[in-house]
């Protein structure tokens, strides 16, 4: 049984169609990459999956249950963790408290039960030195790491990552890839939207290509990247 | 016949409430600012008219014509120098600043005019009435209602037919992009509040000539204005008129049953709308 299954999911804002008849599924423990040009509807797809946006049509099943009409909070509690493309830290809380919110509420535990786990996640995501800083003082890159750390603290079965590698240096990118790989190897399914292709292809088993709110291809990275159609629409140039 | 009479009185009273509300609606529509001082500014305008009438012995209608540009100036200054500084993502500063301002104006008026109830004399017009097939309607309520309709027609013309109106709507949609069109949002907001204060002057004219008022009468007018706006639905001026009428009718019907229930009946109508149609009766299509 897939961990996540979308069937004929649609959404539009006025005349602008942002999701059209989207259908795909993700197996437990699988890592799926999502690529597509700016404005292709990638973040919208995540908002539909996690419930920040309600679908206009179609169904979303998560972990064996129909979650199409569930609130984001409920989906989080049943094991869906996400990061936001534009980081949304709790600015007046410290970095550690940000993680604690996710650990205590998202994983439905007492603060004391997740205190150590949250500290470990800070180490794993390289944020431990900033643990007691207010999240509002973080740089953009640190905020992105905080997004990842918070999503991990909810102890998800499915992790939705929205462009967390952009702007990283080569070394930082490698660390990030290693972290995500470790998470993935613990059996957590991952859907990762990313422009930094070499980071993406180092982790994911399949890639889904989105354009104008439609799935125009899904398959193993080599096949997808070799497709001339993908290369043309994605890069806008023949590389 | 008495039921139709009550209904008519209610509709006409609704004209007054729509006048209270139109300025509030305009300001909220353009800058998402809820001005808790709105009622007190109506009372301030009433005192201003009273002052002009008593000092120069003018007719109240003429006095209102003089007061209107003064109120525009007050509104412009208030918005440009004080309220614009409070606008932003956080709703707390505008609420608390206008709340504080409301107390300041009330107590300023108390110092200036004492706590006595006042009334602006409109002479023979006050008691004049016309008869429609057996139903009497006071001339003042009729004039009030006509003024409300006129104000709303004029505002709609301004908003939908002029360059300034386009700037209003553009700024309301998106402040940053509006500024890329050369629109100065702070000036637009100040002009909008100035206009709202001119409407407030019209409302004050009828408030002052039809009933007694005193420096603490503002908050109740704010509540009526607010109820009319919410009943009608945010962002629609005709909705605001409808909201005023519903409020007026509810109050007169309530009063007809038991004089003590007048205001309560209005509040209950408001709560019912909130219960059944939380976005009001005529909400704007988007947002």
């Amino acid at each position: 049984m897939p961990i996540l299954e979308l069937t004929a999911v649609s959404k539009s804002f006025g005349a602008l169609v942002v999701a059209e008849n989207i259908g795909f599924s993700v197996e437990p423990g699988e890592a799926l990459g999502v690529i597509g040009p700016n404005g292709a509807g990638k973040s919208t797809l995540f908002n539909l999956i996690n419930g920040n946006l309600s679908v206009a049509g179609g169904t979303i099943r998560f972990d064996g249950r129909d979650v199409t009409h569930q609130l984001p909070m409920q989906r989080c509690l049943s094991g869906m963790g996400r990061t936001f493309q534009i980081p949304q830290p709790f600015e007046r809380l410290t970095v550690y408290e940000n993680i604690l919110v996710a650990g205590a509420f998202g994983a439905q535990a007492k603060e004391s039960e997740v205190a150590d786990l949250c500290a470990d996640i800070l180490v794993e995501t390289g944020m431990i030195a900033k643990a007691n800083m207010p999240a509002g003082s973080l740089t953009l890159l640190e905020r992105k790491r905080l997004e990842l750390a918070r999503a991990l603290a909810t102890q998800p079965k499915l992790l939705l990552l929205d462009e967390i590698a952009g702007g990283l240096t080569e070394g930082e990118c490698r660390q990030l890839v290693a972290t995500i790989k470790r998470v993935h190897q613990r059996g957590i399914a991952v859907i990762w939207i990313e422009h930094v292709l070499h980071a993406l292809t180092a982790v994911v088993e399949r890639i889904l290509v989105l354009n104008f709110g439609r799935v125009i291809g899904i398959g193993d990275p080599e096949t997808i990247m070799a497709s001339s159609e993908v290369r043309e629409i994605y890069l806008g140039m023949e590389v | 016949m008495s039921f139709i009479d009550t209904l008519l009185q209610g509709v006409l009273l609704g004209g007054l409430y729509a006048l209270f509300a139109a300025g509030l609606s305009l300001v909220f529509g353009i800058m998402r600012l809820v001005n808790l001082t709105h009622g007190d500014l109506i009372v301030l305008a009433a005192f201003l008219i009273l002052l002009i009438v008593s000092t120069f012995g003018l007719d109240p209608f003429l006095a209102a014509v003089i007061a209107a540009p003064l109120m525009f100036g007050i509104g412009w200054l208030l918005q440009y120098h004080l309220l614009n500084r409070t606008l932003g993502k956080d709703i707390l500063p505008p609420l608390l600043v206008t709340f504080g301002l409301s107390i300041v104006i009330q107590n300023g008026l108390l110092e200036g005019f004492t706590a006595d109830s006042r009334r602006i004399s409109a002479g023979a017009l006050e008691t004049a009435s016309v008869n429609f097939g057996g139903i009497n309607a006071g001339v003042m309520p009729l004039v009030t209602f006509a003024s409300a309709v006129l104000v709303i027609v004029a505002l709609n013309q301004l908003i939908y037919r002029t360059a300034l109106g386009r700037a209003f709507r553009a700024t309301s949609d998106d402040v940053v992009t509006a500024s890329l069109m050369g629109i100065r949002p702070n000036s637009i907001f100040a002009i909008a509040t100035g206009l709202a204060m001119m409407i407030v002057t019209v409302a004050a004219l009828y408030l002052g000539t039809r009933a007694n008022f005193d420096p603490t009468a503002g908050p109740t007018r704010l509540i009526y204005a607010f109820e009319a706006v919410i009943i009608g639905g945010l962002g629609s001026l005709w909705g605001t008129l409808a909201g005023g009428i519903i409020l007026g009718v509810a109050q007169t019907v309530g009063a007809a049953i038991n004089p003590e229930w007048q205001i309560l009946a209005g509040h209950i109508a408001f709560l019912l709308v909130l219960l059944l149609r939380p976005r009001g009766l005529f909400p704007r299509a988007v947002d």
Binding site: L71, M73, L77, Q88, P89, F90, R92, L93, T94, Y96, E97, N98, V101, A104, F105, G106, A107, E111, A119, D120, V123, E124, G126, I128, A131, N132, T154, R174, Q175, A178, K181, R182, A202 | V34, L36, L82, T86, L92, P94, L95, L96, V97, F99, G100, L101, I103, V104, Q106, N107, G108, L110, L222, I223, F226, I230, E260, I263, L264, H267, L274
Partner: protein
């Protein structure tokens, strides 16, 4: 893990001895100081005149109201200007229970709080349909409805109000004990009793708010305040939290209302549901002192009292100045007096920040044995 990236992996060292701390040295000292202060305040009826005790009663009840409004507006983002509804409901419930049901006033106080909370439930249903600024005026309208409805209650004097029967307050629970033990006259004993209740209420409210903010729910509340979308996506039930805070502050505000009117012994709808007395002043206290902190309302109520003592004879000039002061504070020091102080000094008397200490990475950190 067999790809080339592994060589770059950050090693996760076994994290030994993580500690989470919120207390600071200063807050420890302050806890002792405040305990001493509470004891000293408790002794006030034996040390100072009745007039001073009555002043202190006023300060403490305003402080309790301010802490409640601060919790509501400063932490839960629910900017209500209708808290007079709960003061009025609590007060009227007390009068109703004492006059109509013959209950002892002391027993009636908690029931009055309960009544205010019961009223708050349908109120929340309506008011929560309004967003942001409209919520504010919505709560005000509902408070008006409350005032008008209680004005219809003829058995409690309708629009003109009524008084508590003298016998009821004279035979209040515990009063005879005070008279016996301390040889107080009955009016002084009644004042002292009300004062002690106010002191306990203010102290408990502060203690409770502090405990709440340090709890998991408090953490969730802070998260919702900072970013509601993110909080919901991380599993925080924002709506339930806000509703709970709304009901809870209604309960406490109702109790304060009952206590205030037990002391006043005379009630009318216009006084008990007064926007100025029970919301405007409270808002000014919180804003001037510093919204969103526990220290702010404490500081604010002291400033408020001093100003009132010095200038209240100027009547409306005083109120005008108070409003202007609140405006100036909001514009130029939006975090209030306490914000100015803590910015300069870094003081936190009620620290809620969870600091992560210990662990292998933090060995070299300063902080000594106490971290």
């Amino acid at each position: 893990m067999t790809t080339g990236f592994d060589t770059m992996t950050t090693e996760i060292e076994a994290p030994a001895d993580w500690r989470v701390e919120t207390r600071t040295k200063l807050s420890g000292i302050f806890a002792v100081v405040s305990l001493v202060a509470v004891v000293a305040l408790a002794a006030a009826p034996f040390l100072v005149s009745r007039g001073v005790v009555q002043d202190l009663f006023f300060i403490l009840t305003m402080l309790a109201l301010a802490q409640n409004w601060n919790l509501l507006a400063g932490y839960a983002g629910l900017i209500s200007v209708g808290q007079q509804l709960f003061v009025g409901c609590g007060a009227y419930a007390l009068f109703g229970l004492v006059i109509l049901a013959g209950l002892d006033p002391i027993l009636a106080i908690p029931l009055a709080g309960l009544f205010a909370m019961i009223v708050a439930a349908p109120t929340a249903f309506f008011a929560f349909r309004l967003y942001g600024p409209y919520f504010a005026i919505g709560t005000w309208v509902i408070a008006e409805v409350g005032r008008l409805l209680f004005a219809q209650w003829k058995m409690l004097g309708g629009g003109t109000g009524t008084s508590l029967p003298r016998e009821a307050t004279k035979e209040m629970l515990g009063l005879s004990l005070l008279q016996d033990w301390f040889g107080m006259r009955s009016s002084a004993a009644a004042d002292a009793l009300a004062y002690w209740l106010a002191l306990a209420l203010a102290a408990l409210t502060i203690g409770f708010v502090y405990k709440l903010l340090r709890s998991k729910q408090g953490l969730g509340l802070a998260a919702v305040r900072d970013n509601e979308t993110a909080a919901r996506a991380l599993g925080v039930d924002a709506r339930r939290l806000k509703t709970a805070i709304y009901l809870l502050t209604a309960f406490l505000t109702g109790i304060v209302g009952a206590l205030i009117y037990l002391q006043k012994a005379r009630i009318s709808p216009d006084a008990a549901f007064s926007l100025t007395d029970w919301t405007a002043y409270v808002v000014f206290i919180v804003v001037i002192g510093g919204i969103g902190t526990i220290e702010g309302p404490i500081l604010g109520v002291i400033v408020f009292f001093l100003l009132q003592n010095a200038f209240s004879s100027y009547g409306s000039w005083y109120l005008l100045a108070l409003g202007a002061l609140a405006i100036v504070t909001m514009l130029f020091a939006p975090r209030g007096l306490w914000g100015l102080i803590s910015d300069r000094t870094g003081w936190e008397l009620f620290p809620v920040r969870r600091l992560l200490k210990g662990g292998p990475h933090r060995q070299d950190d300063k902080g000594g044995p106490h971290g």
